[in-house]
């Protein structure tokens, strides 16, 4: 029981991660793939932030009368990672637009079919 209580946060993050991961690999629509990627990454960020939490701590902005701060390092890392994530998303979306313009579809299996036709 202790184990569950003390680790539930990690598991929640993992469960959310897997939801995103599933959306990412199981769905054939390219936009959904990207959204899945977003969810997957956001949940990884949650895992990091969870590592940084100190019980009873406050946000790492120095104030008087406060002794205990949560760990700022994961926050910094995740700030960077969020930016990286949005960069990936925008590039991915640009590719989707490009794909739509040249294939006329954003469904993975239809694209694969069109590619196979070209191959022959």
């Amino acid at each position: 029981m202790d184990l569950i209580l003390s680790h539930i946060n990690y598991w929640v993050a993992i469960a959310l991660m897997m939801i995103g991961f599933y959306a990412l690999i199981a769905r054939g629509n390219l936009i959904k793939t990207i959204i899945g990627l977003n969810i997957f990454q956001a949940s990884v960020f949650l895992l990091y932030i969870t590592f940084g939490k100190v019980s009873g701590g406050t946000a790492p902005i120095l104030q008087k009368n406060t002794e205990l701060y949560s760990n700022p390092l994961p926050h910094v890392l995740i700030l960077t990672a969020i930016v990286v994530g949005v960069a990936t998303t925008s590039l991915g979306l640009a590719l989707v637009v490009k794909i739509y313009e040249s294939y006329g579809t954003i469904e993975e299996d239809e694209i694969a079919k069109l590619d196979a036709q070209e191959e022959n």
């Binding site: 946000a59 925008s90 640009a94 637009v97």
Partner: protein, 138 residues
């Protein structure tokens, strides 16, 4: 949305406010939550809002894409340039201490400058991405 009067008026009222808030976030990041990245996103969002309401061409008149492209590069150069300057001043890359008379002052100057670089790049990248996507619609 070009022809709806209500959003146009609201936008006129709000957009300066949003930009002001963005600037606040930019320069107040040392004390509270926020910093260059968040500020960049906010200012970028304000401009995108402008574009959405007044149309792409109006926005392009305010912020021509050539200038925006240069700004992307400029922000990044500003950041990296601070590093080079500290190197020229005899310290390691991005060692801001040498920028001021004291370590603290130097750090402060350095951080403000690089945060500014971040803000400029982020805001202009947001706008340029908007340009690219919006320009594709036809």
């Amino acid at each position: 949305m070009k022809h709806h009067i209500v959003p146009r008026v609201i936008a006129k009222l709000f957009i300066p406010g949003i930009i002001l808030f963005g600037l606040y976030v930019q320069f107040h990041g040392d004390y509270g939550p926020g910093g260059g990245f968040q500020a960049g996103v906010i200012i970028g969002a304000a401009m995108i809002l402008y574009g959405l309401i007044y149309g792409l061409n109006d926005l392009k008149k305010v912020a021509p894409s050539n200038i925006i492209i240069s700004l992307i590069a400029f922000g990044f150069l500003l950041y990296a340039g601070v590093g080079i300057v500290t190197q020229i001043l005899g310290a390691n890359f991005l060692e801001y201490g040498v920028l001021g008379h004291t370590q603290k002052e130097g750090q402060h100057i350095g951080i403000i400058l690089v945060e500014l670089g971040v803000g400029i790049t982020v805001a202009s990248v947001m706008v340029i991405i908007f340009y690219m996507f919006a320009g594709r619609k036809n």
